[in-house]
Amino acid sequence: MTKKQENTRKPMGWLEAQLGTETYRLIKGLLTNPISVAGMILLGIFIFVAVAAPLLAPPREGADPFKIPRDGYGQVPKPPGSEWRTRQPPLPFWWKALVGTDSWTHLMGTASGQWDIYYGVIWGTRTAFYVGLSITAVTALIGITLGTLSAYYGGVVDMVIMRIADIFIAFPFLPAAMTLSAVLTPVLGRGLIAPMIALMVFGWTGFARLLRSDILSLREREYVIAARVVGVRDSRIMFRHILPNAIFPTLVLASMRIGSYVITFAGLSFLGIGAEVGYADWGQLLSFARDWMTQLREYWYIIMFPGVTLVLFVLSWNLVGDALRDVLDPRLQGSR
């Protein structure tokens, strides 16, 4: 308690002056909250894995790095530590120093069809970032645009946009995305694009609704009314006074959404209508478990490695989002 009081009395530091009081409080809050620190450390590990993927699991020369290399074509999965028999991909540089041998092993075993799980987990991190970030960026952009239009113009525009949102919300997310993905697959071919478009089409409504209600409540605040009284133009009020203040809740939602988009996308792949077989994607790796439903104890590694990675990835975004929400809304501090 005493520490807190000292902080408030302290004169504005250099950093605080540079960043502005609000941003400073935000960053400080994120850095001192143990939940968000845990989330950011996890996230940092994933970013490292994604960036260092070619070093951690080097792809074969000239091959598509997102295509998981296979060791033959046998049906029965091999446990972690089995030797790589046919067509070894290049060894990572740290392997020899660490283990002392020249032969590459399946660190996390292989799935049916001898796809290497370790390679899939490592390169799947890139897929997860790519999928999660791009879907969130597109849905947030659509949502922000439509939500702003809706709140700014009101009346008929608002009604039409919100009714359209209602129609899209009337569909449960996963089945809706599966449906559109199935419809688009014959047109666009099997791959990441069809399910990603499907998730974007059904994902924007949350952002649109959130931004609309935020703007509507901000519009009634004293400082906005003051700006209006002084005669500031409507568009300037919108872009300079309202939107910057409405954007933070959107950020919280975005960080939570990245996790849920990655889960849903992995779910599509797991069911067999997302990424194609052999693509480095966690959901796709997990779908190999479906061949061995009754022997999962023996082939635990097919579920454990990609499953735990997926959970931790989503958890890291949710932790950061949760902490961000606490910091942004002082009223909620400690109440969640």
Binding site: L174, M178, V183, A266, G307
Partner: protein, 354 residues
């Protein structure tokens, strides 16, 4: 109140129209040949017969005429028989299930409803109880555990949890069984003495006073129900908790306490009823989550309901079937949302004034 309900109900036809248009637009991505599954069981290989069918059912006509025919059905000129028409309950033929889509829905729907009914009980009861316990013990260990549970639960994909449960319990122990029912129980159900009232095995078994079959059905459902429920359990807990905390800070609670009422009475009779109001709004989301969840859960646990039929059709790109299921999902959601909104307006007078 009446005004609010009428306005809310007037929205329903608009939404139904929008949903149907959206589904119909997705149908347009198919070629006329594929779309003919809306009207005929076997799509002929012969080109001339195919052309005949396309002309017969107007699959080459302008889009608004096709939409009308999709809604109300098309008449076969030679036999005079009306085929198709979703308003008549004819969704066309399922390529993957080799039967009319409506028959597939009728056969599979009770199984999924049964699963959903059993899943709602732990979500509502457990989630609310946990939320209240966490709020009353604010910032104590119980509260922290509940918070961690909520955030970890929210990050746990249902198919990963399902696979883990399969791995831990289905192999080695025979406490829980995959599928919907054991063979011996299935044979017992098929006998004429067993009356099928609802097609929901657990409930029918009770009505037939066959506890052994009831127990068997339950054993098949425990794992799917847990997988289906835990996510919404976490969410319900979270919402109950923060709403309860908010309520406990109100002045009238302080008044109640200073009157000398026991903490028990304050929590149960004064705080809880008000704290539960926001929980009602989760109702729509829970239905939404269940409709999504059954697709994954039924596939993982080999439970033959709507969800697994939907997943199978989607994987094999049987679009006509998939879109029929999606249409049904949309209608269920529209109804569920209306029910939740009206219910909420009924318990919380503030909503009606908006």
């Amino acid at each position: 109140m009446t005004n609010y309900i009428v306005r809310r109900l007037l929205l329903v036809p608009v939404l139904l129209f929008g949903v149907s248009v959206l589904i119909f637009l997705m149908l347009q991505a198919l070629s006329p040949v594929e779309r003919s599954a809306l009207y005929v069981r076997d799509i002929p290989k012969n080109e001339r017969a195919l052309d005949g069918i396309i002309r017969q059912y107007g699959l080459d006509q302008p889009i608004h005429i096709q939409y009308w025919k999709w809604l109300t059905g098309a008449k076969n000129a030679t036999t005079g028989e009306i085929k198709g028409g979703i308003l008549r309950g004819d969704f066309g033929y399922s390529r993957t299930a080799s039967q009319p889509v409506i028959d597939l829905i009728k056969r599979r729907f009770p199984a999924t409803l049964e699963l959903a009914v059993w899943a709602v009980i732990p979500v509502v009861a457990g989630g609310i109880l946990l939320g209240v316990i966490a709020a009353v013990n604010h910032n104590k260990p119980v509260d922290h555990i509940a918070r961690v549970f909520a955030i970890v639960g929210w990050s746990f994909p249902d198919f990963v949890l399902g696979l883990l449960l399969l791995m831990i319990f289905y192999v080695g122990t025979d406490w829980f069984l995959p599928g919907r029912i054991s063979d011996w129980a299935n044979r017992a159900i098929m006998t004429p003495e067993f009356r099928n009232y609802t097609q929901m095995i657990s409930i029918d078994a009770l009505l037939n006073s066959r506890l052994d079959i009831f127990w068997d059905a339950l054993r098949h459902m425990i794992m799917p129900v847990i997988t289906l429920a835990y996510l919404w359990w976490a969410l319900t807990m979270r919402v109950t908790r923060s709403s309860m905390l908010e309520t406990l800070r109100q002045d009238y609670i302080t008044t109640a306490r200073s009157k000398g009422l026991s903490e028990r009475t304050v929590v149960r009779q004064h705080a809880l009823p008000n704290a539960l109001m926001p929980v009602v709004t989760l109702g729509g989301g829970t239905v939404l989550g269940l409709l999504s969840g059954v697709v994954i859960v039924e596939t993982v646990f080999d439970y033959r309901g709507m969800g697994s039929a939907f997943a199978a059709a989607a994987v094999q790109l049987d679009i006509v079937t998939v879109l029929a299921f999606t249409l049904l999902n949309g209608c269920i959601m529209i109804v569920a949302n209306v029910v939740v909104d009206v219910l909420y307006a009924y318990i919380d007078p503030r909503v009606r004034l908006d």
